[in-house]
């Protein structure tokens, strides 16, 4: 009896001391853990994914990543939101040979050296049906006959119009197949400069990329199809004419400059009902709906009998050449372009025909023009045709910026073409 209780006493004492010791050591472990908070657990592979999105669009991507993690135990997808600094950070990571495994991509010529061609993976993948994708999209993520990015989302550009303003002026709603002449007449009727009311909004320093549809519709282009010449293309009569459409409307005050420095954006001005028509991608559509604007969408106008053409803004996902987990990266890319993931993306349009059919998007009057424009987007954008397009584009956009401020289009486009010649081999 006494021996037992003596032993129990000693045991208790020991356990008490060890308890005290434990609590001390655990507290020091805590601080150590908080220092190494970023260290990963054993047995998990981390896949880095870089995106330029922020806000709601970023949340969607994080959810897609989580779903991928759930389907692939042991994999952690680290979503890196580069935001505005996307190009800077991506270029830096490529330079440091420590790039994200998978990244958003549109500017393929700039990064093609660092990207992994996907043809090999696609060929060996019997599950993947490339025919389910809108074929025009591959045009935008391919270079030199190789696919470098899997389409994830896209948008084409359409014309938004404010039905209330049309009704007020008793003008019938525009229909697919309308022309720039129709467009100009409508803008004239819907403009009242004294009330700061205009038919259309033009960006003073537009991205020349967005103007390509307009130029192609008139049979013009900024660069030759082989990418070797700009003279005779950038300053061709068709190109000058197409650009002049916008500057003329500005001169006639049937259109107004919006979205310049310190100015309200075109989206906001359209929402405020101060411009009757606005040309843009799918991005502001939800915002217009939320603002309860009575609006419609329509294909862009054509130049007479010439077919109207469009340009696509696409998001693709690519794999870095220096990725250490390329197979896993491809698995993620494939998941990212799977119907399941594409259905989750609401910030842009689905790239898969089956998803569009299933969601009856082509029957949606607001969305169908986007898919019609997709069919009209079979031209290759200039940046895919020449490596030095950035430099050429500086001259081109300087000229177009000046034209929008009322200067002579022909003269400036000639100068820009002349100045750009030095960037062509």
């Amino acid at each position: 009896m006494r021996k037992i209780s003596m032993k129990a006493f000693i045991l208790l004492l020991i356990s008490m001391f060890s308890l005290a010791a434990c609590s001390n050591s655990s507290s020091s472990e805590n601080t150590a853990a908080s220092n190494n908070g970023k260290s990963e657990g054993k047995g998990t592979t981390t896949l880095r994914f870089a995106t330029w999105d922020s806000g709601e669009a970023l949340k969607i991507q994080q959810e897609i990543a989580k779903k991928f993690e759930a389907q692939n135990p042991g994999v952690k997808v680290q979503v890196e939101a580069y935001g505005d600094g996307f190009d800077q950070k991506l270029a830096a990571s490529f330079g440091a040979k420590n790039p994200p495994d998978v990244m958003y991509m549109w500017n393929f010529p700039a990064y093609v050296e660092s990207l992994e061609p996907l043809d090999q993976y696609i060929k060996g993948d019997s599950e993947l049906d490339l025919n389910d994708f809108y074929q025009g999209l591959f045009n935008y993520s391919s270079l030199n006959g190789k696919i470098y990015g899997m389409p994830a989302g896209f948008t084409t550009r359409v014309v938004y119009y404010n039905k209330d303003l049309f009704d007020k002026a008793k003008i019938p709603y525009p229909k697919d197949g309308w022309t720039w002449d129709d467009f100009k007449q409508i803008t004239k009727k819907l403009s009242n400069p004294s009330k700061k009311q205009y038919g259309f909004g033009v960006v003073p320093e537009p991205d020349t990329y967005d103007l390509q549809g307009l130029v192609w519709s008139n049979g013009g282009s900024f660069i030759s199809d082989d990418g070797r010449k700009v003279k005779g293309y950038m300053n061709s009569q068709e190109t000058i004419e197409a650009i002049s459409v916008l500057s003329e409307m500005l001169k006639e005050k049937s259109a107004v400059l919006v979205g310049g420095k310190n100015q309200q954006s075109g989206d906001d001005i359209f929402k405020a009902g101060k411009i009757a028509m606005w040309e843009s991608g799918v991005w502001p559509l939800e915002g217009f709906k939320e603002a309860k604007i009575n609006f419609g969408t329509v294909e862009v106008p054509s130049f007479g009998s010439k077919p109207a053409k469009g340009v696509i803004a696409s998001s693709a996902v690519s794999i870095a050449k220096d990725s250490k987990n390329k197979d896993l990266a491809y698995k993620f890319v494939k998941f990212y372009s799977s119907p399941e993931a594409i259905k989750m993306r609401t910030a842009d349009l689905p790239v898969r025909i089956s998803v569009v059919k299933e969601m009856k998007m082509e029957q949606d009057p607001l969305l169908s023009p986007f898919y019609k424009m997709l069919e009209r987007s079979d031209n290759t954008p200039a940046f895919l045709l020449n490596k030095n397009w950035n430099e050429i584009n500086r001259n081109l956009s300087a000229a177009i910026n000046a034209v929008m401020l009322g200067q002579d289009a022909e003269k400036l486009l000639n100068t820009a073409a002349e100045d750009s010649n030095k960037y062509l081999k």
């Binding site: 005290a20 908080s34 922020s54 806000g55 420095k261 300087a398 000046a402 200067q407």
Partner: protein
């Protein structure tokens, strides 16, 4: 109150000294606390020293990181601003000729300049802008200068003259309002262009201060520091938001960024600085508390059985003292208490036996007293009757009968007198004479009696009836028909007397003689019972060294030697008066 306290104190001392359990609890607590206190104190001292040192390093590291980061950012912004100013003032380069580009050349210049600005951006750069007085700006397209011009920090920078600059922290409000504001550190430098187009323009370099603020937040959150950053004009650029007021005993670390005259002050409240040690201290206290609890618990567990056993023993003792002598405390263990209990049990058993014995003797004594009483009553009748007979005998002239009754009466008088246990030897010898007269009348002049006693011995005391049984014995056993010789001698032996009574009767063997002094069966008729009683009474009165000795030879005679101490009448009186 004081009385109550005193009462409590008394109660406590009572408890402490009055109960084994309390003592054991105290013992256990002391045994637990002393090493714990030593251990706790040592571990508290050492670990708190280590922790404080680490905390100090931790804080120093965070502070130095903060400073480094600050210096880096500011350095870099200055390098960039110098580079841009040089570019703008270099006459050989094509620089901006129009404040707001309107021409193809103007746009080309703008794009080139923006590319130049872009090239100076680093990872943390939010933006590099050249902002004209009219609100036009170079560098990106997201800035809202209308909002920017309303910002307090921009208004503050209005007063900055050429050659000077403004640096500070602020939250971005001048970008897309849908995005949350970001924490920035900004540098604003007025531009002097000799062409005058950019007159009043300012260069704004914005660097994201997230990382910088992560260090500040780290200091504020993990180190509980209060961070203050002041510029060279002692203007506060940043101050931790806190309800706490700076105290005199705060632990303050102030560092100067020499290049810019900035001052970073990290103030940690003393209490929080030593928070870790306080935690250790608290844990030690907790450990001590638990050990006290444990000790008390163990002591109770320990002490309870012992105390219980002792209590049981004590209760049993109480019951024994109350007279319950049948108690036997069961013993299971083999420890000291068990042996104590065993002794107790034995003691109770012995007491019980003793008491039984005593009560038995007491019973016998009472019986004897009763008998004595009985005898006392009867003598009156006997003496009266004997006196009557004596008188009747005298009247009838039966002289011999009268003599015989007279002597018998004298002998019986002595025999039935219980008043004094010790009587003078003279008196006893007198009675013997009467006894011998009776025998003489019975048997005639058949025997001779010689008595040699010194006169002073006559006054010393001897137990009543200690000689008569010896004489009776002689007549009963030694002589036949009272025929023989009896000699009595008393010798004075310093502090004792030695009396020898010799006869020349039958005598006996040594075995028979020794049997005479052994206790007999309570058969009153058996031989020598009187002699044994005399021996016992002498021993009872004076001790075992006194008593009778018998020397006898068959056919020759027997000598009984009686030995007793000298006792005078006065001694006996003083003795009996007790």
């Amino acid at each position: 109150m004081v009385r109550y306290f005193q009462h409590f104190k008394e109660k406590l001392t009572d408890h402490l000294y009055g109960s084994i359990r309390a003592k054991l609890v105290l013992f256990f607590i002391i045994v637990a606390i002393v090493p714990l206190l030593l251990f706790g104190y040592a571990s508290y001292k050492n670990s708190s020293a280590i922790v404080n040192q680490q905390f100090n390093k931790y804080e120093t590291f965070a502070t130095s990181q903060l400073e480094k980061q600050l210096v880096n950012i500011i350095d870099q912004m200055f390098v960039v601003s110098n580079d841009i100013q040089q570019y703008l003032s270099d006459p050989t380069l094509i620089v901006i000729k129009e404040e707001i580009p309107k021409t193809y050349e103007g746009f080309i210049e703008k794009k080139n300049f923006e590319r130049f600005l872009e090239a100076h951006k680093t990872f943390n750069t939010r933006g590099i802008y050249l902002i004209t007085s009219k609100g036009y700006f170079y560098g990106g397209s997201y800035l809202n200068t209308d909002k920017l011009f309303q910002e307090p920090f921009w208004k503050e920078s209005e007063n900055v003259k050429y050659g000077d600059h403004w640096i500070g922290f602020y939250q971005t409000q001048h970008y897309d309002s849908s995005k949350p504001p970001e924490q920035m550190i900004g540098l604003i430098v007025p531009i002097q262009s000799q062409y005058g187009v950019l007159k009043g323009s300012k260069l704004l370099i914005e660097t994201k201060a997230d990382e910088l603020f992560s260090y500040i937040k780290f200091l504020e959150r993990d180190v509980h520091a209060f961070v203050t950053i002041r510029n060279d004009k002692k203007k506060v650029l940043y101050r931790s938001t806190s309800d706490r007021k700076p105290l005199a005993d705060d632990i303050v670390r102030t560092t100067n960024l020499d290049a810019y005259g900035w001052q970073v002050e990290v103030r940690v409240p003393e209490k929080l600085f030593y928070q870790s040690s306080t935690v250790i201290f608290n844990y030690t206290l907790l450990a001590i508390f638990f050990s006290i609890l444990l000790a008390s618990l163990l002591a109770m567990l320990f002490a309870d059985p012992i105390a219980k056993r002792l209590r049981k023993l004590k209760d049993s003792m109480g019951r024994v003292s109350a007279g319950e002598l049948d108690i036997q405390v069961p013993v299971k263990e083999k420890d000291e208490i068990a042996s104590l209990t065993n002794s107790f049990n034995q003691m109770v058993q012995q007491i019980k036996e003793l008491i039984e014995e005593i009560s038995e003797t007491e019973r016998l004594k009472r019986k004897a007293e009763l008998r004595a009483f009985h005898y006392q009553i009867n003598p009156h009748l006997l003496f009266n009757t004997l006196n009557s007979i004596q008188w009747k005998a005298r009247l009838a002239n039966a002289h011999e009968v009268q003599q015989m009754i007279y002597h018998l009466t004298e002998v019986l008088h002595e025999n039935l007198n219980f008043s004094d246990e010790l009587i003078p030897l003279r008196k006893e010898l007198n009675t013997i004479k009467h006894y011998l007269k009776v025998q003489e009348i019975r048997y005639g002049h058949m025997f001779q009696y010689e008595e040699t006693v010194s006169p002073e011995a006559m006054n010393y005391l001897i137990p009543r009836l200690s000689l008569q049984p010896l004489f009776e014995n002689i007549f009963f056993h030694a002589f036949e028909d009272g025929n023989g010789m009896i000699k009595l001698t008393v010798e004075d032996k310093a502090d004792a007397f030695e009396l020898s009574l010799s006869d020349n009767g039958k005598g006996m063997t040594a075995d028979q003689a020794s049997i005479m002094l052994q206790p007999h069966e309570s058969n009153e008729k058996s031989r020598g019972i009187g002699v044994y009683n005399v021996d016992q009474r002498l021993k009872l009165h004076f001790g075992n060294e006194y008593g009778l000795k018998i020397v006898s030879e068959l056919k020759k005679g027997t000598t009984i030697i009686m030995c007793w101490p000298k006792r005078s009448v006065s001694y006996d009186q003083s003795n009996s008066s007790r």
